[in-house]
Amino acid sequence: MSERKAGTISVELSIPVQADLVVLARLAAATLAGRAGFGIEDIEDLRLAVEELCLSLVTGREDGRLHLSYECEGDAIEVACWYEDDHMAASARRAAADDLSLKILDALVDEHGRRLRDGRAGAWLRKRRSDRAV
């Protein structure tokens, strides 16, 4: 599902916690970043970061769904990810990420954070187009 409002592109995605479907989460991010003119280095970082974001929420889980929302505005893309299952209380306790995840996200994106929403564990990241020299 996607919508466009005044310069912002919003896309929402909901996927089961299943290994072969995380490609959708990465590709959605890469596609939006590609449309926004991100260089491929930035896009590679974004793919890794989205994967890390998903992983940090679902480790040790075998069911449930990941809800992802993407917002692309100007030279920045923001991805938010929420985990949902039938055990909200357990989900809420999992909102904290391990140190390595935080280090990896620090290395790959401009900003990131953890959030709880309606008892669901969530995380978000924001990456700006860098136009960095190679």
Partner: protein
């Protein structure tokens, strides 16, 4: 087992970096490299499930740690581990770009990826920056979608193609070869050792294969001779037992800051929430 914790940026590390900057003493350099090799192992494990041998990834990551130690400027005000993580990930990305062809990508995707490699090199030199997807599509005559797909495959992701055949019901976490987040909460090995000893031999073996050797659940299943789902259940049960043992042990100790209260890592709320609130 369970020994490769990322070193904390303590005063000692900082002092050593200042010492290194002042004298370029090889012994100091070696101490710093050795102290941070655990980070190389952790990061290598994170990306182990992409067709490249773990040992190769550790080697790439370890060399990146050496490079990081040589390049780190303690005056810049960032933690060494942050700087090193960035360097290690960059080197691992490059490694996958060059070697990531254990992935079962369709031939057309592989061919396009090779073409993209050449185009990227040429365009990067011409433009002085990383080319965009559109620029690469124009240069190779491919669609932007095909470029994105090939780039996905080129990073060694096992699920290389969105239209890959076959249904894989492995869980995401088991597939990515990542480290259980819960491990961070049970990293105190003093507390962990007795709890580990209380587990059965098979549970201990599975934990060791998972966390010390970085095998995926599927790889463990093949080695131990049980299903991946069974491995997953055993891991979950073992971690649950470890967690409760550690929690009980911790309760007997003095106050420690826990991670039960999740907090944002950044003070600013994400745009998603700012919009929802307005």
């Amino acid at each position: 087992m369970l020994t490769d914790e990322a070193p904390r940026q303590g005063g000692d590390t900082k002092a050593l970096f200042f010492e290194l900057a002042a004298g370029r003493d090889p012994a100091v350099r070696e101490r710093l490299v050795t102290a941070h090799l655990g980070l190389a192992h952790q990061l290598a494990r994170r990306y182990v499930n992409r067709g490249e041998p773990y040992e190769d990834l550790v080697q790439v990551a370890s060399l990146a740690i050496v490079k990081s130690v040589d390049r780190f400027d303690p005056d810049r005000g960032i933690e060494f581990t942050t700087f090193a993580t960035r360097t290690v990930i960059g080197e691992l990305k490059r490694h996958f770009r060059d070697k990531g062809w254990a992935v079962r990508a369709p031939r057309r995707v592989q061919e396009l990826y090779l073409e993209l490699g050449k185009a990227t090199e040429t365009l990067s030199q011409q433009l002085g920056r990383s080319p965009t997807v559109r620029e690469l599509a124009t240069a190779t005559g491919a669609t932007e979608e095909a470029v994105l797909e090939a780039l996905e495959a080129g990073q060694g992701y096992r699920t290389a193609s969105i239209d890959a055949t076959g249904r894989n019901e492995e869980t995401l976490a088991s597939h990515l070869g990542g480290e259980d987040a819960s491990l961070g909460a049970i990293e105190d090995r003093v507390l962990l050792a007795p709890a580990l000893a209380a587990l059965g031999p098979r549970e201990q073996q599975i934990l060791q294969l998972r966390f010390a050797y970085g095998l995926t659940q599927s790889e463990i299943a093949a080695r131990v001779g049980i299903s991946q789902m069974h491995v997953s259940r055993l891991l979950a049960a073992s971690l649950k037992r470890l967690r409760s043992s550690v929690t009980e042990a911790e309760a007997g100790l003095t106050d420690r800051d826990g991670q039960a209260e999740p907090e944002a890592q950044s003070s600013s709320a994400p745009a998603h929430e700012r919009r929802a609130a307005s």
